[in-house]
């Protein structure tokens, strides 16, 4: 055995030593990994069971939201139908009032009174005081007729405006529907992502119900209505002035 061979053996022995030392350090780690895997196996099974339930329940929840949306839309339609009828009736009333149909009684009374005043003027032989009284009455009668009809018309038109205001408030149904749509979109994305992950993790896709198919606004804003409108107007102004 020459010098080189001895050196070679010594080097191999040193490598073996390093390997053994490394192995001594690695074996406990591998033991720990094995223990960890055996510990988490039930957890993985549990997770799989939870995900399976989720894959069924998520679409169910989304379908329930769809039903809520449909119900609110039905209710909104019914309210709109009633408001439409009210507006038509109010229009008829306003027309009737403006053509004095509804104020006929008042008109009759005023006309009867005017006839009496005229008769009084004639009978008085156009006495100055009676003529003056007749003139005052004429003026009052005109005001009375105008005031009565105008007030009624004003009230009816206000009622019509109230109906329009209620209709405008019903926009909330559409806004809610679109926001629910966004939530459903998020739920659908989560369901799809879970499907993808579980397919890779467990090797087979899990049960999944029908896909929810909606057109969704991408990003509902959590800012106030006035803030949004102000921001939109500012942007429009910038666009008009060529800033954007």
């Amino acid at each position: 055995m020459n010098h080189l061979e001895v050196e070679n053996i010594l080097q191999k022995a040193a490598e073996m030593k390093v390997f053994c030392e490394y192995g001594q350090r690695t074996i406990p780690v591998l033991d720990e990994i094995a223990a960890f895997i055996s510990e988490i196996s039930p957890a993985i099974e549990e997770l799989k069971a939870v995900l399976e339930v989720a894959m069924v329940n998520i679409p169910k929840a989304a379908n329930q939201l769809t039903r809520v949306t449909e119900a609110t839309e039905q209710a909104t339609t019914q309210i709109l139908n009633t408001l439409d009828k009210m507006v038509v009736k109010l229009e008829d009333l306003i027309t009737a009032v403006s053509t004095s149909t509804k104020s006929k009684d008042l008109d009759n009374l005023i006309n009867k009174m005017s006839a009496l005043v005229k008769a009084l003027v004639d009978k008085s032989g156009w006495d100055n005081d009676v003529v003056q009284l007749a003139e005052t009455w004429d003026s009052m009668a005109k005001s009375l007729k105008a005031a009565g009809i105008a007030d009624l018309e004003y009230i009816l038109k206000n009622l019509q405006d109230d109906c329009t205001e209620i209709m405008m408030a019903l926009q909330v149904q559409d806004i809610t529907q679109q926001h629910i749509g966004t939530v459903m979109g998020t739920i659908q994305s989560v369901a799809e992502e879970l499907q993808r992950i579980t397919k890779g993790f467990f090797g087979e896709p899990m049960k999944k119900e029908a896909v929810i198919n909606l057109d969704l606004p991408p990003n509902p804003e959590l800012v106030s209505e006035q803030e949004r409108k102000k921001m939109v107007d500012e942007l429009l102004n910038k666009a008009r002035s060529g800033q954007i």
Binding site: Q171, Q178, A239
Partner: protein
């Protein structure tokens, strides 16, 4: 009463009814309806439309796609367009402006707000017309 013929485009029947009533209350009674972008294009070709009010989210063809189609057609390139939507972010407004909508109104709106927007658009169109 205003004689301007307005085409409203929205997939929601409820919203179309609300819009028709709002327009009526501010004096616009000549209104044509469409449920989506494709139907709107058909209505545009068969009616003399003076003003277009469109929603953003619609099936088949959304509001932005509709406006892009309209602007690409020389017959309607100068048609005043007001977009009504729940989208109120800066990015959304810029996207709508890039598609060349004349103005933008965020739901919920009042008849007065709608009137102001329509009048503002009409003024802009008059100023810009040759």
């Amino acid at each position: 009463m205003n004689t301007m013929k307005i085409l409203i485009v929205d997939d929601s029947v409820t919203l179309r009814r609300i819009l028709i009533n709002a327009l009526k209350s501010i004096g616009y009674t000549d209104v044509v309806e469409a449920a989506n972008g494709k139907e709107a294009l058909e209505k545009l070709s068969s009616n003399n439309i003076d003003f277009l009010i469109t929603d953003w989210n619609m099936p088949e063809m959304n509001g932005i796609e509709l406006v892009k189609e309209i602007r690409a057609n020389p017959s309607y390139s100068s048609l005043p367009v007001l977009m009504i939507t729940v989208h109120g972010s800066e990015q959304d407004v810029i996207e709508a402006l890039k598609a060349k909508v004349n103005s933008y109104i965020v739901k919920p709106f009042t008849p007065q707000e709608l009137k102001d927007k329509i009048e503002a658009v009409l003024k802009t169109v008059q100023v810009n017309s040759p």
